[in-house]
């Protein structure tokens, strides 16, 4: 069957190449439908409860997508004329950014004062530049004492200040975020030129979205070329065949192009995690090519002609490559159980890639090699010799290796629980990414990017004016401000207190909540009457005035701490206030929960993948015992890698949790190749266990080491990604693959040898 196929494919080479071209063209056309997703929402599935809460918050109040620009004057004083002028200029410019619905700054902050029965409402910084030193002092005094501004738009020491532009993205196209970012950067260029003495930093959720987008573009632009250079050099050195290298590169290109095309036809969009797919597909396609070519070139070097060498290669490799393809696909498809849609996309995209890589390496590659001129020199047997030394070493030291491996494994596995789930979205990006640098600066000098929004409800129309409710909100605010994680609390009660003071001729002793429900409601009406466009209270009060939004800004804390704080706040509200109904929502809350949801959902997917892979192995090896036993050397490297992860990072993020099934699907390949050769020796040649191990080493030892080298190199390239999700996945996979090779060489043989001894005694 395989022989007939091999015969056919090597003789109908032009037909094969033509049909390949047609396939690539037809599938690849779908690539034009590919879109880049640039929204962190894509991490959350439609049924995600935290996303639902966040959506409800945004439709009840207003959207909070923002661009947050921080000005850090070299003078170290935000209240110098130059900086204030820049703030005012920036405030006006920010209004012109696409989709802006609101701009908050020191200059347009609506400052209220009163004289007798006159309430003055005006921009804090109005008549510029006619401003004297006393006025500057007054400004500083007002700004650094206003709870709405301090830690939000001005630092306590007055050294840095910020302008916050709130956007309402229609979310109709993927172009919106890049559009805002382009305009923001142009605006900042203009400001930097006009104010060389001020450093500008920019963060906010729009910049976060953009960082996801840009880091994936970065990956595509830098990692893939790097990957190709490494692959070409590696293949050239290992295969020592120009034709083989060129053909492999063609197969790799075809695999990626076609997989992306299918992805495009289905209509899925690319994203940060999916940007890792091409690198992974390259890696796996190379492994397929290497298996075919190593045997082919070996055949030619030992004197076979091209056709005969290829037929022999297909005969011995067809089944193992098919099996490893199936197990790898199962591994990647396990990502479909993830709670994060983007990982499902990644898993499916790579699964397509693995399938196309298989197709092209088993169908197109042989035909390509037939039309290419292939020249080989006489076989050298050095590598074989060095591996036969290895097989003798393993056979001679089987007990030491068996127990040594078990001991090391136990130690590493014991470390696994030290890892903690963590998904801090700022830390998804390394320090080479502008978003990370700027956000770290903002966090260190002014305010945080992690927030929790609370929607606090009453059961009555206009209920927020109820003195009891206001007292509860104020108590909550005061308590929150004492919490070590909290940087800032934005609350309506501060506005009520200020208005009450204003209504009493700015008498500081009246800086307290109005005690009468109607009075509070009327203050609010009065205040609303006096605000300009874009600075209204719709972002803090719902239309029926039954609920208010309270925004807590946090330091950069870990997911587990965010969740603990969320719980602590909820408990406090329930114990200490009469607020019956409330909910928490924010991107930070969403990311903090998703790590746990994802880990839980991945457990079933990973277990299913394990079971399916075991079944495939049992069928492929035609042995239940060997199939089950082979899972030990497959699971161990992943377990050890997670144990070692404690020393490297210790945080298990979204992508790492989805890596287990993937890694399993890949590392199982080595076992398949090794065991299939071992069994072939036992069954076809009736060799002893020792000799079968020697045979396995001598036939696939080189190919395994070459493919593992390529796979490790490929995933190490991925670990260079500036996007932590991809970098973590790359590092974890390369560790697991390297460990798998070691275990397959040193431990698997000892299992086979020991195992057989028992049966022979029985």
């Amino acid at each position: 069957m395989v022989e007939r196929y091999a015969q056919w494919v090597t003789t109908h080479k032009w037909f094969v190449l033509l049909t390949t071209l047609i396939m690539i063209a037809a599938m690849g056309m779908g690539g034009k439908n590919l879109e880049f997703s640039s929204n962190y929402r894509a991490f959350f599935s439609e049924g995600n409860p935290q996303l639902a809460a966040f959506d409800l918050l945004q439709t009840t109040y207003t959207k909070t997508d923002n661009v947050f620009v921080v000005l850090a004057p070299e003078s170290g004083d935000a209240f110098d004329r130059n900086t204030l002028e820049a703030v005012q200029f920036l405030t006006e410019k920010a209004w012109l950014l696409p989709y802006t619905t609101r701009v908050d700054s020191l200059s347009n902050y609506q400052h209220t004062t009163s004289e007798e029965d006159d309430l003055y409402v005006a921009d804090l910084l109005e008549e510029f530049p006619d401003i004297d030193d006393t006025e500057l002092k007054r400004l500083r005094n007002i700004a650094t004492n206003e709870p709405l501004l301090i830690h939000r738009l001005i630092s306590t020491n007055g050294a840095v200040t910020a302008v916050n532009a709130t956007m309402y993205l229609p979310e109709k196209t993927q172009e919106e975020v890049p559009e805002v970012v382009t305009a923001t950067r142009a605006m900042l260029d203009e400001l930097r030129a006009a104010y060389p003495d001020i450093d500008f930093y920019v963060t906010g959720t729009i910049m976060l979205n953009n960082a996801f987008f840009e880091s994936s573009m970065n990956d595509l632009a830098t990692l893939i070329p790097l990957m190709f250079v490494i692959i070409i050099i590696t293949l050239g050195l290992l295969l020592r065949s120009i034709a083989g290298t060129i053909s492999s590169v063609i197969v790799i290109f075809a695999s990626i192009f076609t997989a992306l095309g299918i992805f495009g036809w289905i209509g899925w969009s690319m994203s940060g995690p999916a940007a890792a797919a091409p690198t992974i597909i390259v890696t796996i396609a190379v492994a397929d090519c290497v298996h075919v070519l190593v045997t082919f070139l070996h055949g030619m070097r030992s004197g076979l002609n091209k056709q005969a060498a290829m037929r022999e290669s297909l005969r011995v490799n067809f089944q193992p490559i098919l099996i490893t393809t199936v197990t790898t696909i199962i591994g990647f498809l396990s990502m479909n159980s993830s709670d994060v849609p983007l990982f499902r996309d990644l898993g499916n995209l790579v699964a397509f890639g693995v399938a196309t890589a298989w197709l092209f390496s088993i169908y197109t590659l042989p035909a390509l090699m037939m039309v290419m001129p292939v020249r080989v020199k006489a076989e050298t047997t050095q590598s074989k010799q060095s591996l036969s030394w290895l097989s003798e070493f393993v056979i001679g030291n089987r007990n030491k290796l068996l127990y040594g491996t078990l001991f090391v494994s136990m130690f590493a596995l014991a470390l696994v629980p030290n890892n903690k789930i963590n998904d801090e979205f700022v830390k998804y990006f390394d320090n080479s990414i502008e978003f990370r640098q700027h956000t770290d600066f903002v966090e260190a000098n002014l305010s945080g990017i992690y927030t929790i929004d609370y929607s606090l409800h009453t059961d009555l129309e206009s209920g927020i004016a109820n003195p009891q409710f206001l007292a509860d909100v104020q108590a909550l605010t005061l308590w929150l401000r004492q919490q070590p994680e909290v940087i800032h609390v934005n609350t309506i009660t501060d506005i009520f207190k200020r208005l009450n003071k204003n209504m009493h001729s700015d008498d500081q002793s009246w800086y307290k909540l109005p005690e009468d429900r109607e009075l509070a409601a009327q203050y609010l009406l009065l205040y609303e009457m006096s605000l300009p466009y874009g600075l209204d209270l719709n972002n803090q009060i719902d239309i029926n005035k039954t609920a208010t939004r309270l925004t807590v800004t946090l330091k950069n804390i870990r997911s587990e701490h965010t969740l603990a704080l969320e719980k602590r706040i909820a408990d406090w509200i329930e114990t200490n206030t009469s607020i019956k109904e409330f909910y928490a929502a924010s991107p930070n809350i969403m990311f903090s929960h998703i790590g746990y949801r994802n880990a839980t959902s991945m457990i079933s997917g990973t277990l299913l993948a394990m079971a399916l892979i075991t079944i495939v192995l049992i069928i492929a090896l035609r042995s239940v015992k060997l199939g089950l036993m082979s899972m030990i050397p497959n699971m161990l490297p992943i377990g050890i890698a997670f144990g070692l992860w404690t020393f490297i990072n210790g945080d298990i993020g979204l992508s790492l949790a989805t890596s287990v099934g993937m890694a399993l699907g890949i590392v199982v390949d080595d076992t398949v190749h090794f065991l299939s050769k071992y069994l072939r020796a036992k069954r076809e040649q009736n060799l002893s266990n020792e000799d079968a191990v020697r045979y396995a080493f001598s036939t696939v030892g080189v190919a395994l080491w070459v493919t593992s080298f390529v796979l490790v190199a490929g995933f190490l390239v991925l670990s260079l990604s500036s996007f932590g999700m991809n970098a973590d996945r790359g590092l974890m996979a390369s560790m697991a693959i390297a460990l798998a090779l070691i275990i397959d060489f040193l431990f698997l043989p000892t299992l086979l040898l020991g195992k057989s001894k028992e049966t022979s005694h029985a």
């Binding site: 409800l56 945004q58 439709t59 009840t60 207003t62 959207k63 209004w95 012109l96 950014l97 696409p98 989709y99 802006t100 619905t101 029965d117 006159d118 309430l119 003055y120 409402v121 005006a122 309402y168 229609p170 129309e461 206009s462 004016a465 209504m503 009468d516 429900r517 109607e518 009075l519 509070a520 409601a521 009327q522 203050y523 009406l525 009065l526 609303e528 009457m529 006096s530 605000l531 300009p532 466009y533 874009g534 600075l535 209204d536 209270l537 719709n538 009060i541 719902d542 239309i543 029926n544 005035k545």
Partner: protein
């Protein structure tokens, strides 16, 4: 303030002037100005009015909220009109009264009576662009139409609500306006505003206001009884339903000062 009246409003030519024919000529600016002047001319002479209004706010989640308001207006020649607004609901602000002298290119003068405080407070602010009671209507959308508020640019004719309309671009003269421009459609027969589009500072469409159910009072003055303002950027909308219009009820300046504010119910 609330002289919404004027916005939706027009006058029929006096019966003696039936033969009066409106003619468009000159540059686009002159044509636009002529349309505005004709519109204002037809809405001159109503003296004073009373009306009640129900305002319904709708957010993106589909929640609605209502406010009931009654409004007295006094026509002021060559300046913005005076208005006195009394809030009847929501309950907590019942009895709150708002007095406004609107001006075309200078800040409005505003006073608010807070029954809970039993005091009149003057609001000194340049802001006219803020939302009225949390709605999608800004103050400047509700104050009386004055020719001097804008510069004009005639754009052509278009059908709106099945009527042939003049279409003009209006650029606000007030420095602190929330808009870069508005586009207004005024029907050719009665010079009633049928539709206005509001553009934000970055010249993007922000809101559209449509006018419905025009009725004629005193055989001359048209008033729209339904106005809908849709905010395209945030997906919220506000509907105003007008009723109980009365004209020439004998109101004068004394009914529009700080003292009258306290008495207003």
């Amino acid at each position: 303030m609330l002289k919404i009246l004027t916005q939706g409003v027009l006058v029929i030519a006096l019966s003696l002037n039936v033969a009066f024919a409106f003619e468009l000529k000159g540059s686009a600016a002159e044509k636009g100005l002529a349309i505005a002047q004709e519109s204002e001319r037809r809405n001159t002479g109503w003296q004073d009015s009373r009306a009640t209004m129900k305002m319904t706010l709708k957010n993106k989640a589909g929640d609605t909220s209502e406010r009931d308001i009654s409004i007295k207006s006094l026509e002021v020649e060559d300046d913005g009109d005076k208005s006195l607004t009394v809030f009847n609901s929501p309950r907590d602000v019942k009895g709150t009264a708002f007095l406004s002298f609107s001006h075309a290119v200078t800040p409005d003068e505003q006073w608010l009576y807070l029954p809970a405080l039993k005091r009149v407070k003057r609001i000194a602010s340049k802001n006219k662009s803020g939302p009225f009671m949390g709605s999608e209507f800004a103050f400047e959308d509700l104050s009386s139409f004055e020719v001097e508020k804008y510069t004009y640019n005639y754009l052509g004719t278009e059908q709106v609500n099945g009527l042939d309309c003049y279409k003009s671009e209006l650029t606000p003269a007030y420095k602190h306006s929330g808009y870069s421009k508005t586009i207004a459609w005024i029907d050719q027969e009665e010079f009633r505003i049928q539709k206005i589009e509001y553009y934000d500072r970055k010249k993007k469409l922000l809101k559209t206001q449509t006018f419905h159910d025009y009725k004629k009072y005193l055989d001359q003055f048209w008033r729209a009884h339904k106005m809908v303002m849709t905010n395209h950027q945030v997906g919220k909308s506000t509907e105003l339903l007008w009723s109980d219009y009365q004209f020439r009820t004998g109101l004068n300046d004394k009914d529009f000062n700080k003292n009258s504010l306290k008495r207003a119910r």
